[in-house]
Subunit: 520 residues, 2 copies
């Protein structure tokens, strides 16, 4: 439980727990555990392997210091390292490794949970009582949340474009997405409200949805961060319509100031960790007075993906059910992942971790700038209201055609967070597209988008097709028209997470070359 | 796939894959991956975090050598250690750590899978084509197998007494157990056959079961290992009735020669690894000519539980579906667990690992002997046929009553494997039990078993109540009578995995003391 006792109590949300999750019972073996601690007790009850028979005696981790620059150049510049040790012996200061080699209780290491709570207090200060347990990565965390909240054939509310693996999990359960349109501030609260008010269970064949899944900061794929005002509206709607908000937030600490051109003029002065935390948009958790936000936190995204470690922050009623599922579905996250993360947090402290995150933010922001710099060098970028496409938001990348007329190619929003730029391409007036459209195909937009993608791949640059991120509303609704999308448009996602600056610039030159052929 | 090309092909078993698992599709992002390897390709498609931004630079593991005695005494006798290194640099011989820090493909590290296959060939030489992928521990592996094979409300065939967590997973799905009675050689094949022949879908409310779940070596709780002859009969029945055998086998390498009294006369000469492998009972996998055995292998049980690592061995049709579930439910097992295990297997080699397992077998066998030694010191132990309980198998622990007459207290089977001794207590003629029975309670056996358990706990010794291991056949069948169990009996499980020799002896003296009060 959170440590501030003036915190509010959650409202009763136990009716959100589905039939299967309600049917989970604690293992009867748990009843014995309390007896095991009696003085002088001999237990012939437990089935734990004997720790003397584990071959691992000591682990040393060599890690970067959080105050050092986290980026090393390709020449392998010497990094500022520190050494963390977890051993089976009892050297003072070292982490005792044995506890991480043995079976755990399911919730994860107690000290690591307490540090996770300290971090939660520092960053979110939730107004309502909550609890935390560890999980083996946000993929598995979301799987457990779906297993707790969704009945088969339910609907889940998602953003207009959403992370495909989050859907792939529940498609086999017969669960369907209800997408809500978004603008540059995130999903539209009035559209969300309309959807809920007008829900017709008979037509939909299922009850009004009760779960809202959001990657609310630097959404994958759209890069959009939901604004503070919009968040308050969405939270109020969740109270009004009894929704549970699942806040899957791996990019929370990767929030950037707006892009300035040229990007070299962007300030990048280090802040104190308190100042850094203040720059971050308030999470749904921070405004959750009722216990209806389930937040999925990731160490995998901030330290390294192979860690497969994160934690749930939620109403104790939900945490208890998630723990029951953990006991039979996964058990504790891997011991070495826990030992590494605890060693690191002990040494770095919460402040050191926040310093690390601030550096990470700077590094990915620099990468964002590289990509937008490349857009500005290769296209004429106009604010939407000054472009030939006044009805859109954000920025529009244009090229001049053979008659020297500026034509819009794609619009995008400066991503205020995350790793992606989402672009909407405009096919109207492109000769090749018009030709395809005249062939009366089912989905000319998708046909042309595929052709464009292949032309880029031939020029040795890969983007991710927007079709990957369409919410799954059932097998029959896949065409652009059936989705109700704007005619003569399609989306692509640009990622700036992995390539170097030189690769990004070369890539955008290639993107431009193909565009020149079609739009020029 | 296995490397021997004269291996048989599996029969078509795709009809065993349930509706939900069939509905899983590969991520569309996978289509892009093949393009990423083109020479000179710039990918703005992937969303992988940049490896320069991972704080872990190097890991050193200090491990026991497999040839050393794996047991260290409580005084911390110096162990024979070796050091394994996984680094981000390129020191020759070291493991390249970066691949374990990044996202994986879901199947796990390729080299570790190949080593798992080498081990599979060495130990099981499966006659039919198979494939392997890694999993994050047998708990999760079983969860994925249930997710692939079982429809809600199906029945699963299990041993008469079975591991409660394996059931706790599927109870919420409405799945029920069909227990098959067993003797000292494992479940009775004629009873299994009768069950399948006489299955009445109408009465049962579900189709004939198609999944047989077995911990076939050193079963938890019974300690029983299914004999080779019985295995062949069971496998033939699985072909006849189209069953999938799920072979959950964490104790496979902990197979012991029969207990001799006094145990000091037990030979314990080290064998070559080939000789060691020959002593092991043939697995179901080794006789699987059709691809209907799914084997769950555990590194967690043989190295350390916190590792959360093992692998599936199965028909490629099943492996492909298990991989689809892995992509959305868990992703790869934790990177540090994979890096540790690969480093260890590279250094130890398959032979070194088998040497480690042989030592592990010796250590747990010694613990088994400590427990049976304590039985022999505290009770008169008779072969069943020479005891007052001729109708049972194995051994009977007896005490003399006040009239100096030998009375049977509990029967047990010398566990030829694993970590447990399963005991059946006989309450007939115990005054206190007769008193309870006369009170016409619902379940006098369970009432007395609870009283006995509490009396032991008061004397500071804990056993595990047998009731924990009753198959779950629905909420209404819980009494001894309703289960069709032998009247006036109840079971308890003794574990010899964790306590020291002194603790085991002290524990059994306390068990004996309480027995003296009731049976004396």
């Amino acid at each position: 439980m959170g440590s501030i006792d003036r915190r509010g109590l959650p409202v009763d949300l136990s009716h959100h727990i589905n039939t299967k999750s309600k049917a989970r019972h604690p293992s009867p073996l748990k009843d014995i555990i309390k007896f095991m601690n009696y003085d002088g007790m001999v237990s012939l009850a437990g089935g734990l392997p004997h720790p003397s028979l584990f071959p691992l005696e000591q682990v040393n981790f060599e890690c970067l210091k959080p105050s050092a620059s986290v980026s090393k150049d390709a020449n392998g510049e010497a990094a500022d390292l520190m050494r963390l040790t977890a051993g089976r012996g009892s050297s003072p200061g070292d982490l005792d490794l044995t506890q991480f080699l043995q079976y755990g209780s399911g919730s994860g290491n107690r000290e690591l949970i307490e540090l996770s709570k300290d971090l939660t207090e520092r960053v979110h200060a939730p107004p309502c009582e909550y609890d935390c347990i560890l999980h083996p990565g946000n993929t598995n965390a979301w799987s457990k949340v779906v297993g707790m909240l969704c009945e088969d054939d339910n609907f889940v509310i998602v953003e207009e474009f959403t992370y495909p693996s989050a859907q792939a999990l529940w498609i086999p359960l017969g669960i369907k997405a209800v997408p809500v349109p978004a603008d540059a501030d995130g999903i539209l609260s009035n559209k969300l409200r309309d959807l809920l008010i007008n829900w017709d269970s008979k037509t939909a064949g299922a009850k009004r949805p009760r779960v809202l899944y959001l990657v609310s900061v630097g959404s994958n794929p759209t890069g959009v961060t939901i604004s503070a005002q919009r968040r308050r509206e969405i939270y109020d709607i969740s109270v009004e319509f009894d929704l549970i908000i699942v806040e899957d937030d791996p990019y929370y600490f990767l929030q950037y100031p707006g892009y300035q051109t040229p990007s070299s003029e962007n300030g990048c002065q280090a802040k104190t960790t308190d100042e850094f935390v203040k720059t971050l948009i308030p999470s749904f958790l921070s405004m959750d007075t009722q216990g209806r936000v389930i937040r999925l936190e990731s160490f995998s995204k901030t330290l390294f993906p192979g860690l497969r470690l994160g934690y749930f922050i939620a109403n104790p009623v939900f945490i208890e059910r998630l723990l029951r599922a953990t006991e039979v579905e996964t058990q504790d996250p891997a011991g070495l992942s826990q030992a590494f993360t605890l060693s690191l947090l002990r040494r770095w402290g919460i402040d050191g971790y926040l310093t690390w995150l601030q550096n990470l933010q700077l590094q990915y922001r620099t990468r964002r700038d590289w990509l937008l710099d490349a857009f500005y060098s290769n296209f004429t970028v106009l604010a939407a209201e000054n472009s030939p496409l006044v009805e859109t938001q954000g920025l529009v990348a244009c090229v001049k055609n053979k008659d020297d007329v500026l034509r819009p190619v794609f619009s995008f929003v400066d991503p205020g967070a995350g790793m992606f730029v989402w672009s909407k391409f405009y096919f109207g007036g492109v000769d090749r597209y018009t030709e395809i459209e005249s062939e009366s195909l089912d989905d000319p937009e998708q046909t042309f988008a595929n052709e464009l993608w292949k032309a880029w791949a031939t020029e040795l640059v890969l983007l991710t097709p927007g079709s990957y991120y369409h919410p799954w509303q059932g097998a029959d609704k896949v065409t652009t028209k059936a989705r109700g999308a704007e005619p003569r448009t399609a989306h692509f996602r640009f990622s700036f997470a992995t390539p170097t600056e030189a690769q990004i610039h070369a890539g955008i030159v290639r993107v431009r070359k193909v565009i020149g052929k079609y739009w020029g």
